[in-house]
């Protein structure tokens, strides 16, 4: 399936990826190539096949309900681009 430029822009928006408008045609071509390649999957009949999400078909282990984590705010916020009063700051969010 060929991906058009406007679709690249739509996908990029959904993924919140800023891409240079000049690069859109190349992305469109790359994505189209990859999808065309991936479409080999259509050659196989998968009716009735259970999807495999995990190689080992294992089940979820449960953790006891206990508090094991201490406050590490200062440690974690050393990596934060912008904080104030212990909060992470972002441009104003309007609901």
């Amino acid at each position: 399936m060929a991906i058009e430029g406007f679709e690249v822009e739509k996908i990029a928006h959904l993924a919140r990826l800023g891409i240079d408008p000049d690069d859109v045609p190349e992305y469109a071509r790359n994505l189209s190539d990859i999808l065309a390649f991936v479409e080999q999957l259509n050659s196989v009949d998968t009716r009735g096949v259970d999807p495999l999400a995990h190689p080992l078909d294992a089940i979820q282990r449960l953790r006891p309900d206990s508090v094991t984590e201490a406050d590490e705010r200062d440690n974690f916020q050393q990596n934060a681009p912008l904080t104030e009063a212990g909060l992470y700051l972002v441009p104003q969010v309007i609901e």
Partner: protein, 479 residues
């Protein structure tokens, strides 16, 4: 045109665990910002979620209490979208295979109408953090302490037809999750929240109208207001030839209105897919059995028991079992009163509830303990005080003047049950009221009440009313 309202609710109940759904950080409310957001809650690179077993147990409890199917296999999925209070850029939730589905709950619409509301599903998910809009130089502050708090999202069928029904259903769920001990139900702290899907359609039409999703409703009163406002808005829109747009609207509690969210609502494409960091949750029948054994008595069963054991009406039993604390209080009062079920019910639902309402208190904060109330009821029952005097005693109990017996003693409220004393008073009353006696003899029987009143007045209400009646009847005919 006659319009019919159609409502479905999505209730988010925070599960009352100590630690978060996928991390070992505390869920305590009110901590300093980001001090309870651990590496997993922050979505640091490389961290992984591990499921808290207690949330599974709690979800199973809810499923059992709502006649639902507990899924033998459920799957966590990622709901992908970008928002600053969502650290990973996806919310771990359940999508195609929720842990609980296809149940119901009966609600009392009024004194003699019960309605069954379907529960489509209840699924586990993680809560998001909070955006603080106070001005940080024109920026928004993000506190992720709440991120990862376990939520049970309870989705109803669109079975409700009025705001009142929606409130009744919401209250019922609220009561149930607190009975089960799986949610503290604290609406101020956001532990129990609700979104309402509201639409209208011409009476008799099968197809649903276009719905609006009302977000962020955090009190029973607001649910009613928000729905009523929205119904009126939709009807007005339709009647003036407009159409309802499917959208998310916020309820503005100050203005009592709903308004569209300003966030750009692009067609939401959440790209759900099974979370590859988590494996399917399997629940076997043995585990369900084990949880079933730990279930407390549920409201329905308790209501029936109150009717059977205490001879209460369905309505009274329903009121007293609406929340667990009230039912517990009632039963403690019955016990202290020496088994006075009906009397206890009347007092708990009447005098006590009235006083609590007036003072804005919950039953748990009642100044009159169940034991104290029961002690007073015991004195009504054994004739020490009359029901009328009891109101004075109750006020004194409320004011903290000691036990019922102490109050009766110090205030001299003990009922006069001595026949000769009452006879003396009756004699005086009759002698002092020749005119009324005359009227009575002439067949005006309602004057009888006047004499009763006079006797009670003379005894400051302390005469045993039953005795007064009997003695007066005898003496008036002989006078």
């Amino acid at each position: 045109m006659e319009w019919e309202t159609v409502i479905g609710l999505e209730i988010h109940a925070q599960l009352a665990t100590r630690s978060k759904i996928f991390s070992g950080a505390s869920t305590r409310y009110g901590a300093e910002p980001n001090t309870q957001a651990c590496a997993v809650d922050l979505g640091l690179p490389g961290v992984l979620p591990v499921l808290n077993g207690e949330v599974v147990r709690m979800a199973v409890k809810f499923g059992l209490a709502t006649h639902s199917t507990v899924a033998p296999r459920s799957v966590f999925a990622r709901k992908n979208y970008f928002y600053p209070d969502l650290p990973k850029g996806y919310q771990i939730s359940q999508y195609e295979l929720p842990i609980v589905h296809d149940g119901y709950l009966d609600i009392e619409v009024d004194e003699d109408t019960v309605k069954r509301i379907g529960i489509t599903r209840a699924h586990l998910e993680e809560d998001a953090g909070k955006s603080l809009h106070e001005d940080f130089h024109g920026m928004t502050g993000i506190d992720l302490n709440r991120a990862g708090t376990p939520l049970l999202e309870i989705v109803s069928e669109p079975d409700m037809r009025s705001a009142r029904e929606a409130v009744a259903y919401m209250k019922k769920i609220h009561s149930l999750v607190r009975y089960l001990g799986i949610c503290d139900g604290n609406m101020q702290e956001g532990s129990f929240r609700c979104d309402a899907n509201v639409s209208v359609r011409p009476q008799g039409q099968q197809a649903f109208g276009t719905r609006a999703e009302l977000k962020n409703i955090n009190s029973f009163r607001f649910v009613e207001q928000a729905i009523n406002y929205e119904v009126e808005r939709q009807i007005a829109l339709l009647e003036s030839g407009g159409t309802v747009v499917q959208e998310t609207r916020l309820f503005d509690a100050d203005r009592h209105e709903t308004r569209p969210m300003r966030t750009k609502e692009e067609a939401n494409d959440y790209r759900y897919f099974p979370d590859p960091d988590l494996l399917p949750v399997e629940i076997d029948p043995v585990f369900i059995e084990e949880v079933a054994r730990t279930l407390p008595e549920l409201p329905e069963a308790k209501k029936q028991r109150f009717m059977d054991d205490y001879g209460l009406s369905a309505y009274d039993a329903g009121v007293l079992t609406a929340n667990r604390e009230l039912g517990d209080y009632f039963e403690a009062a019955v016990e202290a009163s020496g088994g006075q079920g009906k009397l206890s019910a009347n007092w708990v639902m009447g005098e006590l509830s009235g006083a609590l309402n007036k003072a804005g208190l919950e039953i748990g904060a009642s100044p009159v303990s169940a034991g104290a109330l029961g002690g007073m009821l015991r004195r009504i029952e054994d004739g020490t005080i009359s029901g009328k005097i009891a109101k004075q005693v109750f006020e004194a109990l409320w004011a903290g003047e000691g036990s019922a017996d102490e109050i009766i003693e110090t205030r001299g409220l003990k009922q006069i049950s001595d026949s000769s004393a009452i006879e003396g008073i009756i004699r005086d009353v009759l002698e002092n009221s020749p005119k009324q006696l005359e009227q009575y003899r002439n067949g005006q029987e309602k004057v009888f009440g006047y004499f009763v009143g006079q006797v009670m007045k003379a005894t400051q209400g302390k005469a045993n009313p039953k005795q007064v009646n009997e003695l007066l009847k005898k003496m008036i005919n002989n006078a």
